[in-house]
């Protein structure tokens, strides 16, 4: 018998599934290196960044979680950033 949570390949998918189901974030990348879980991606608010981390921790079976998720800027573009399509 193998504890699948000890196999990084399966652990990644367990965490991704939990993040999708509980934090409803589908675009978060999960990597496991040397027993440590890394979360990367972009979300809309700091609250959702925290939600992603909480969901990941709940599925990480005690592995340390490093939250590298970024919060998307919502600044408005200035006129110089308009794209002219011709």
């Amino acid at each position: 018998m193998t504890r699948t949570e000890d196999v990084p390949h399966y652990l990644v998918e367990h965490i991704r599934a939990r993040v999708a189901e509980e934090a409803h974030e589908l675009g978060v990348q999960v990597d496991v290196r040397e027993g440590k879980v890394y979360l990367r991606g972009r979300v809309m608010s700091s609250e959702r960044r925290r939600d992603v981390e909480e969901a990941a921790r709940a599925a990480a079976h005690g592995h340390p979680v490093c939250n590298e998720v970024s919060v998307v800027s919502s600044r408005e573009p200035d006129e110089g950033e308009q794209e002219r399509l011709s």
Binding site: H24, G41, R75, P77
Partner: protein
């Protein structure tokens, strides 16, 4: 010249209520129309739909939206679409609309769209029933998109835009894992766009993708998912057909 503001994947919820509103009210003088490329909500609940309405209603420019996969998650997509329409927002679901933007007739055709993949790596209508249904969903939508684009073109639109949630090309998915491309879009939509003719195709959905691409026949495509843009919206300036050199 028409200035098209576009954004997708704003994913509003009770926790972010009111935050996008200031961008919408601030569009006056900066854009002539706002296109919303789906995933207005996180879970697709009616409550989140109400938040989306509050964010987008009473805009200073016409607002045209499609729903996304998140907006379907709670099976309340019809109610969300109805609430948006009641607030004056045009919601496209395989159809088109023409709006007057300061004298320019802008035709927009679109809908959520669906997946299936891209040439050489696409799903076929074969095998299990659910697999065939998956492909037929995209095929059916793409046919409606082609018809809707043709109709707005024939109705005399000066500028025509295809608006979807899923991507019609793979170039604007660059940055996403290759393995999930078939769940992010389908070339069938690009084929419909190229066949009917459009000045621009706008989509969202692929948060890790890239903003700019082009279809095989030369239609510009823009992925306007908010995480891709890194700003509240993008603005694209297009010349009406009659004034192009």
């Amino acid at each position: 010249m028409i200035r098209v503001a576009a954004v997708g994947d704003i994913h509003v919820g009770a926790d972010t209520a009111g935050r996008y509103r200031r961008h919408v009210t601030g569009l006056a003088g900066h854009a002539d129309v706002l296109l919303v490329a789906g995933d207005l909500t996180r879970h697709g609940t009616v409550e989140e739909g109400r938040v989306a309405v509050e964010e987008l209603k009473d805009a200073p420019v016409p607002v045209i939206a499609v729903l996304g996969n998140h907006d379907h998650h709670s099976d309340a997509q019809d109610e969300i679409a109805a609430m948006l329409r009641d607030a004056g927002i045009i919601v496209l679901e395989g159809d088109g609309a023409i709006v007057d933007c300061d004298g320019v007739r802008l035709g927009v055709a679109g809908g959520k769209g669906f997946g299936g993949g891209f040439p050489g790596r696409s799903a076929g209508e074969f095998g299990e029933r659910v697999m065939k249904e998956f492909v037929r969903e995209t095929r059916s939508f793409s046919e409606r998109l082609r018809q809707a684009l043709t109709e707005v073109n024939e109705a005399g639109a000066d500028v025509t835009i295809a608006l979807t949630h899923y991507s019609p090309i793979k170039e604007t998915l660059a940055g996403e894992p290759l393995e999930i491309y078939p769940f992010l879009g389908s070339y069938l939509m690009a084929e419909a766009i190229d066949e009917a003719g459009a000045d621009l195709a706008v989509h969202g959905h692929a948060h890790l993708g890239s903003e700019k691409g082009v279809t095989s026949a030369g239609t510009r495509v823009r992925n306007v998912a908010l995480p891709v843009l890194g700003q509240a919206y993008a603005v694209y300036c297009l010349e009406p057909a009659a004034t192009r050199a």
